[in-house]
């Protein structure tokens, strides 16, 4: 199917697709002559000028804080109680609250990620399988929950899941949940936070995946149909492999975001005292040591841990998933 697209005209330019792509790719190499250097370096300068504001902000709010956290977690920051070295890290990672927080966040991820990916992909494929007015409406409906995010989202769910306040009280009672304590019990928390995150995130990703399906070459799908493939075959064998890299992208991004869970346990814990530990998630643990224990060094160690998780996810995205970095070659 990859070969077939070669002769296909580009939707906008009308040029064969391959040629249209190669135009941009070949342009620099086709003008390597000495006299052409000036425009090329002008181009590079322009690129750097456009990048500069981003790089400045990246340095100020990402790179410098990361190194400062690293320095502080090694005992170099103000008010550190440990000698310079790995003593603070050892202290932070042997903390009684660290492993439970890792387990909590991991449980949440195990519930949240697969459901998000399967649900969003399935929804996008189903919608794309039957285009029309119905699909546009559903796409719009999918987008609506994404408008409520962050703290208000948690409040919304807090109301929905507290039987005394919820319009769904009979439904909750049906599951044997008569009070907030029944719903927000320790073993339910990862699932509840996953529901909150799914509600906020899934709709947006469905729209993104639908968009990626729209961008697929219709000729490929048409050819498959002529070869006798039914809707299921097309979805499973044609569309799914073609959008796999988008799904991987969503997975990696959601993983990094979900690992930093903080608003959900914080707000539920504040509304229902004694229900959620102050140090339920890793981010809460970092907050607790920075602001309740005045131990910036230990807090930095947790921050560094979260950075490593985030960076690992990004590296997997860039190098691990070949399909993502080698987009053009796979075409």
């Amino acid at each position: 199917m990859v070969g077939r697209s070669e002769a296909v005209p580009h939707p906008r330019s009308g040029r064969p697709l391959d040629e249209a792509q190669n135009m941009t790719a070949r342009q620099p190499s086709a003008h390597i002559g000495r006299r052409r250097r000036t425009p090329r370096s002008t181009q590079a300068r322009l690129a750097w000028a456009l990048l500069a504001p981003y790089l400045a902000l990246l340095a100020a709010f990402a790179v410098i804080p990361i190194f400062s956290a690293l320095w502080s977690s090694l005992g170099g920051g103000p008010g550190s109680r440990d000698p310079f070295g790995f003593a603070t890290m050892a202290r932070a990672f042997s903390n009684n609250n660290f492993l439970p927080a890792v387990i909590n966040v991991a449980t949440f991820l195990v519930v949240f990620l697969p459901v998000l990916l399967i649900f969003a992909t399935a929804m996008a494929l189903v919608l794309h399988g039957r285009p029309g007015r119905f699909t546009s409406v559903v796409k719009f409906i999918c987008y609506i929950p994404g408008v409520v995010v962050g703290a208000p989202l948690v409040l919304l769910w807090l109301f929905m899941l507290t039987p005394q306040l919820s319009p769904f009280e009979p439904l909750l009672n049906l599951f044997g949940m008569a009070s907030a304590a029944d719903v927000f019990s320790a073993q339910n928390l990862p699932a509840i936070f996953a529901i909150m995150a799914l509600y906020a995130g899934a709709g947006g990703w469905i729209v993104v995946l639908y968009g990626s399906l729209e961008a697929l070459d219709t000729n490929v799908i048409e050819a498959a149909r002529i070869d006798g493939a039914n809707s299921w075959h097309i979805a499973w064998h044609i569309k799914l492999p073609l959008i796999a890299r988008y799904i991987a992208f969503i997975g990696v991004i959601s993983f990094a975001g979900a690992a930093q869970l903080v608003a959900e346990p914080n707000i539920v814990g504040a509304a229902l005292p004694g229900t959620v530990s102050d140090t339920w998630s890793l981010n809460q643990l970092a907050f607790y040591y920075a602001f309740n224990r005045n131990d910036a060094a230990a807090s930095s160690a947790y921050a560094v841990f979260l950075v490593i998780i985030g960076l690992a996810a990004a590296l997997v995205l860039i190098f691990g998933l070949r399909t993502y970095s080698e987009t053009d070659k796979t075409r």
Partner: protein
């Protein structure tokens, strides 16, 4: 809503700190901001850090004392320690007066050399009038703060329901346990106590003089599972949690509010301010329903009324005008008229008497609470000072309460509790020893 998070602070989850926090939560949002006092030409400049609740009182003081140029800054209680720690390298920028709702005066003296010794700044007579409550400010013979309020405990009960059911108010914990079990069989659905967050150890364990943690040099000895004063509480509570007469809910849980408004709270051992904050304003009990009795005893004549000191006013040791700063905090903690109208029970003796009078005249209580309130205050005789990190309350709320709600027994969770306490004391630099 960060004030609510602040409520869960590990340091000292004192009752009155909670009132402050609740009041803050009610006042919606009070972000850190700076307001200036009257810019009068004054002999001295004072920088005052308070929470949003105390801000009006300080501003009123500034208006009455134009010779002192007061700048008020609202600083969130949770940020105090980190801010002082950052500024300790630049003494000129440190505040002259700090209010803490978390009992940190001695910690600030120990960790940052911040708190000034007030023995020479405040008249001895005034210090004496604070009675035992001043012990929370005292370390090594030095007085590092003036306490604003104190939380003492008592047994709150619904007089109307007691009359209906024909019960008598228990005076010992054995009677309390017996009555609770009776309620579970005779009137299921009614509750006789709450054990779902830090209030539970605060009321039941500290009310039993349970030592919890005690310092032994660099060791912090944890005796939740060995000291008799602690184990008897666990043994009493587990059956009551099982028969649901003691609810696994915080007094401030929405489910508890539901029970309260349904008039299902038969009795509730708790703090002196529950009368107004919980029963009158949250459960909406009618006047003449609720009464207070002294906290039950363990029958060994030891009145284990656990008390906690709430707000503390501190003068900075580096202050350019310590006398003016001391005059301000003295006014804040001894002004009888202002304190008598406050939500929390004043620490200053004469003001607490005025406060009790206001409560007795309010017409809310089913019987005159004067004697109960006064005796609850005079019961406070011990040393109220708690070393930093020596907290059994937040570890309970974090490690025990969530699983208690799930149906686990208290005795099965003592290990988790001790584990969390160990972490808290080692964070404070002690070596945890579980006995």
């Amino acid at each position: 809503m960060t004030r609510l998070a602040q409520r869960r602070k590990a340091s000292a989850l004192t009752g009155s700190a909670l009132v402050v926090v609740l009041t803050l939560a009610l006042s919606a949002c009070a972000g850190a901001g700076t307001t200036s006092g009257p810019a009068a030409e004054g002999d001295s400049d004072l920088l005052v850090w308070v929470d949003a609740t105390r801000q009006p009182a300080v501003e009123a003081y500034a208006a009455e004392n134009p010779d002192v140029n007061i700048t008020v800054a609202t600083v969130d209680g949770g940020d105090l320690a980190s801010k002082l720690s950052l500024l300790s390298r630049d003494p000129d920028s440190l505040p002259d007066v700090v209010f803490t709702a978390n009992g940190e005066s001695v910690a600030f003296a120990r960790d940052y050399d911040y708190s000034a010794d007030l023995s020479a700044l405040v008249p001895q007579d005034t210090l004496d009038d604070f009675g035992a409550t001043i012990s929370a400010c005292t370390d090594g013979g030095k007085v590092y703060c003036l306490p604003q309020d104190i939380s003492t405990q008592m047994l709150w009960y619904n007089q109307a329901l007691f009359d209906d059911f024909g019960y008598t108010v228990p005076t010992t914990w054995d009677e309390y346990a017996e009555l609770s079990s009776r309620v579970a069989t005779e009137h299921p659905g009614y509750v006789t106590g709450s054990c779902g967050d830090g209030f539970c150890p605060n009321v039941y364990y500290r009310g039993s003089s349970c030592p919890g943690i005690s310092a032994d040099g660099d060791d912090a000895v944890i005796r939740i599972d060995s000291a008799e004063e602690c184990t008897r509480v666990t043994a009493m509570l587990d059956p009551l949690l099982a028969d649901k007469s003691v609810a696994t809910l915080s007094p401030f849980d929405p489910d508890m509010t539901q029970l309260g408004t349904d008039k299902k709270v038969l009795m509730l051992p708790g703090f002196v301010w529950y009368g107004t904050v919980l029963f009158r304003d949250t459960f909406h009990n009618a006047p003449g329903e609720i009464a207070a009795a002294p906290l039950p005893t363990w029958g060994d004549d030891v009145k284990g009324a656990g008390a906690a000191v709430g707000g503390q006013w501190i003068v900075g040791a580096q202050s350019s005008d310590p006398a003016a700063a001391a005059a301000l905090i003295e006014s804040m903690t001894t002004d009888e008229d202002a304190l008598a109208a406050a939500v929390t029970f004043p620490a200053y003796g004469p003001a607490s008497a005025a406060w009790i009078e206001v409560a007795a005249d309010s017409g809310f209580y089913a019987s005159d609470p004067t004697e109960t309130f006064a005796s609850a205050r005079s019961d406070v005789t011990g040393d109220l000072f708690t070393p930093p990190g020596f907290d059994i309350l937040a570890p309970f709320a974090n490690a025990v309460a969530p699983k208690l709600k799930q149906g686990d027994t208290l005795s099965s969770l003592l290990g988790a509790w001790q584990n969390a306490i160990s972490q808290s004391v080692s964070d404070a630099g002690y070596t945890a020893v579980i006995e």
